[in-house]
Symmetry: D3
Subunit: 68 residues, 6 copies
């Protein structure tokens, strides 16, 4: 399966905050912690646990640019 | 200025594809190239050039998780 | 810090609904109430309270147009 | 038709930048100009012109908060 | 009211997971279940119930493409 | 590879509008045409052509609900 989604950042789950409908996942990557918000159902379907190797997936249209 | 946007990934602009309304920016980071799509007006307002030090800014709700 | 994010709407926090992972913030602006959903961690990191002067930040690609 | 999309900001089209696939629309509102990016097909389907009264429509999950 | 949002998929609510701030709605459509995340306030404002005929509304910029 | 992205709608490419940076793809599905906006580079990387069997991929947080 190939995808148009261009950004897939390799990392490791370091924290999970589980809510009723939505959950927050911290993913430690080489460029710092990347924070993700997914449904709690997806959290359970993927059986995500602290320590899991994962990728953060981001559509390019969602990425802004900041310049110091 | 503090922001609720949690993800700010440090990198360097390595490629710019300029369109009429929208442009695509490749940002080289420690975790690989991050691709961003912004308006061409923002590209010009920020005077973005290849080599510029920038951050990729991403709202957590836009980040999915993939598990091998 | 300059940003490609074009929309920053000035307002005042008038309501906060705090959930476990996500929270909802109502921001009163000159054009009406703008509703925002952020992580509860960001709510706490920014120490947001009713009455705070804030901006609503929105990437242009997220804005649709409706015509009567 | 009722919608879950909570933000509908009243304004007037003040500028249109038309690209091949995507176009950028500036909407003057009581809280400042709101910038929108839509498909050029939607621009044409809605027959948008400078001066049109419109609303900017934004899903709450797309709205971040900034605090000075 | 005409809208620039191009995707409006007809279906029926088949499941609701209600959280404090956010809720998840499963919509059965001809192409399978479509999952939506909206604020719990919108859930209540629309008085959504299992069995309701609804549309899933999606801005085109949020849709990626996968190819086997 | 498992993903937190819950919506993958099966269809067939029926139209491509190619721009410099962004392109628009119409995907015919059982529930009607679904419109997608992706980078022109992803269009080329996936070698998308009219007639290709694809899936439209959508994060649940991007899906709103409309009720007649």
């Amino acid at each position: 399966m190939k995808t148009s989604i261009r950004n897939h950042l390799a990392g490791k789950v370091v924290k999970i905050i589980k809510g009723q409908a939505m959950s927050e996942i911290d993913i430690e990557t080489a460029v710092g912690v990347v924070c993700s918000v997914i449904t709690t159902r997806s959290l359970e379907d993927l059986d995500l646990k602290v320590g899991d190797a994962v990728h953060a997936a981001i559509k390019s249209t969602e990425v802004g640019v900041e310049k110091p």
